[in-house]
């Protein structure tokens, strides 16, 4: 195996900058790896080889000429295919956008371009980011590199699988209810959902606008911090992005965590928790104790309602956000005799079953006579969930939970029961409802060899505490140094 693909993004950036490696060499190594293993895991919808090599050559030229370079100069990155890169196809893994070519760059893409990053490909996802397994992709299911019979998680399953399989050192995902953290957990990598408003949403296909965030995925904590450095910040094109100065997350990442107060919410350590997951989390808690952290049991009393209100809120918002896919200005159009049929057939055939189910649920929840009972009520319970976290953070600096109740399940295992599938997000969705930052880091393997992830949650805009805690842990463990045998 080529050594380049095992290197962290931080190392690659350093070596490219110092001319130990060229961007073309690095990019080509990852493309070769992708060509070799991606047919087995199907992480990518498209590998943008030509585009990437052109960018890589430009980076090399820039470095050779001694011009000022970006933080990610020449480093490849995979992009979830619900984020727009101008002139490149963007499908959101939906038939309705199968041939859509992005007419503009997402803000994160602009930022990555100016940082010198190289776009290696667009990764698979559950259609419109709705799902926890990538089984809802209109094109194909992505596989878990650790065991291809298992799901890679979702919806950013393609990005997680790509990084885990070393076909990209970095990836972008989007997270509405755990869509970065849960697949990161499934595939044994790091995934970060930043504070709502930390990263611009402009140019990420909206699923649930009040919950969506773009975030980094990588093998190491340091790499995710580096990537967040590049993509974070206020954007005048996104009214919900927040004008808070972006610290250099790498500056504080190596600080020790002695005396740090870590809360364990009792509602997350429930009976249904898988025994392997429980064991790994308990071991992680022991490591934190050794690192000098203080472990405190806390309560997040409204946790039990999170899944219910999450599905009301995300489906309601999605029902409006996805109304624009109608075959009028772009996207799939089922030719019919009249407009009404054309709308209904274009949407009926263009969307997959899960997307339609959620649009139906959301439309129902907002329809005349039901608003107060569903959407109105959910917004109020959301306030209570936010308050739970505000109260908890009065006594602790960080909250630690499992990322998922079970390790990655088998493909097909839950696809017939939407509710069971929804419940697999149980630990990740409160974070989006409360708008706080969260991340998943690898903390072990199940007896069957499937990765297990641990979730860290922090206060609004306190990604720094989260990163340094994750970094300390990762320095004390070797999970991130293991590679799937694919």
């Amino acid at each position: 195996m080529n050594e380049i693909i095992k290197m962290s993004a931080t190392t690659l950036a350093e070596k490219i900058k110092n001319k130990d490696l060229t961007s073309v060499e690095v990019t080509q190594a990852f493309i070769n790896r992708a060509k070799e293993v991606d047919p087995k895991i199907k992480a990518y919808i498209s590998i943008t080889e030509e585009y990437a090599l052109k960018q890589a050559k430009e980076s090399d030229k820039k470095i050779a000429s001694g011009k000022e370079i970006g933080q990610l100069e020449g480093v490849p990155i995979a992009i979830k295919d619900n984020i727009l890169i101008e002139n490149i196809k963007m499908t959101a893994s939906s038939k309705i956008l199968e041939n859509y070519v992005a007419p503009y760059d997402a803000t994160v893409i602009e930022k990555l371009k100016s940082s010198g990053a190289v776009f290696i490909g667009k990764t698979n996802l559950d259609e419109f980011a709705m799902g926890s397994s990538t089984e809802n992709s209109a094109f194909f299911t992505t596989r878990n590199p650790w065991n291809t019979e298992h799901i890679p998680g979702g919806s950013s399953g393609g990005s997680a699988s790509a990084v885990s399989a070393m076909t990209a050192p970095l990836a972008l995902g989007t997270d509405t209810g755990g869509s970065i953290r849960q697949p990161a957990s499934c595939c044994g990598i790091v995934g970060v959902k930043p504070t709502y408003g930390r990263v611009s949403r402009f140019g990420a296909v909206a699923f649930a606008s009040s919950l969506d965030q773009i975030g980094p995925m990588s093998k190491t904590v340091e790499d995710s911090a580096l990537l967040l450095n590049v993509i974070a910040g206020y954007d005048k094109k996104d009214s919900t992005s927040i004008d808070v100065a972006v610290p250099n997350y790498l500056d504080t990442i190596k600080q020790d965590i002695k005396g740090l107060k870590i809360g364990l919410p009792k509602e997350y350590f429930i009976d249904g928790l898988d025994s392997d997951v429980k064991k790994s989390i308990n071991e992680a808690i022991e490591i934190y104790k050794k690192l000098g952290a203080e472990i405190i049991e806390i309560s997040l009393p409204h946790t039990d309602y999170a899944v219910a209100i999450y599905y009301i809120i995300c489906c309601s918002e999605a029902s409006a956000n996805l109304a624009r896919y109608d075959g009028v200005r772009y996207g799939f159009r089922a030719e019919c005799d009249n407009l009404l049929d054309e709308y209904q057939k274009s949407r009926g055939q263009g969307f997959g079953p899960e997307v339609k189910r959620r649009i139906m649920l959301g439309t129902y929840a907002l329809s005349a006579g039901y608003y107060d009972a569903y959407y109105g009520k959910a917004q109020k319970v959301r306030t209570l969930i936010k308050q739970d976290f505000e109260n908890a953070f009065k006594t602790v600096d960080l909250i630690l939970t499992p990322s998922s109740p079970t390790p990655a399940f088998k493909i097909g295992e839950k696809s017939s029961d939407p509710l069971q599938m929804y419940l697999s997000d149980i630990f990740t969705i409160s974070c989006n409802l409360a708008a706080i930052p969260g991340m998943s880091i690898p903390c072990g393997f199940s007896q069957k060899g499937i990765p297990i992830g641990m979730q860290l949650l922090a206060k609004n805009f306190d990604e720094q505490t989260m990163f340094k805690s994750a970094y300390s842990y990762q320095q004390s463990t070797n999970w991130h140094k293991q590679f799937p045998n694919i």
């Binding site: 859509y100 919950l211 029902s319 159009r333 407009l339 949407r347 009926g348 319970v381 306030t383």
Partner: protein
């Protein structure tokens, strides 16, 4: 609360989604079981709680009234994705006055 097939028909027409009869049946069941699960939120007392309708807590985000014209290449890109066009227009099935 129970969702009926009539509700599903109504919601499907609001959302402009076509389903086969078979799909409607399974959808009705699935929505019913999801709504049944959601019922539990009723037990929470929210009488004194304000709603959270936004992810961010900001306010008064606005911009100045300055024109920025799209480049021709952006406008071309918008038209390239159009399923149908005629001259400078996006072409759609004839709209009846009565549809809204």
């Amino acid at each position: 609360m129970e969702i009926s097939k009539k509700d599903v028909d109504y919601v499907a027409s609001l959302a402009r989604l076509e389903f086969s009869e078979k799909d409607k049946e399974s959808l009705t069941q699935q929505l019913d079981s999801i709504l049944d699960y959601i019922e539990k939120i009723k037990e929470v007392d929210t009488s004194k709680i304000a709603p959270t309708s936004h992810g961010a807590t900001g306010q008064n985000v606005w911009r100045e009234d300055t024109v920025v014209k799209s480049s021709q290449s952006t406008i071309d890109a918008l038209f390239k994705n159009a399923p149908d066009k005629e001259g400078d227009f996006f072409k759609v099935k004839k709209v009846m006055d009565t549809e809204e």
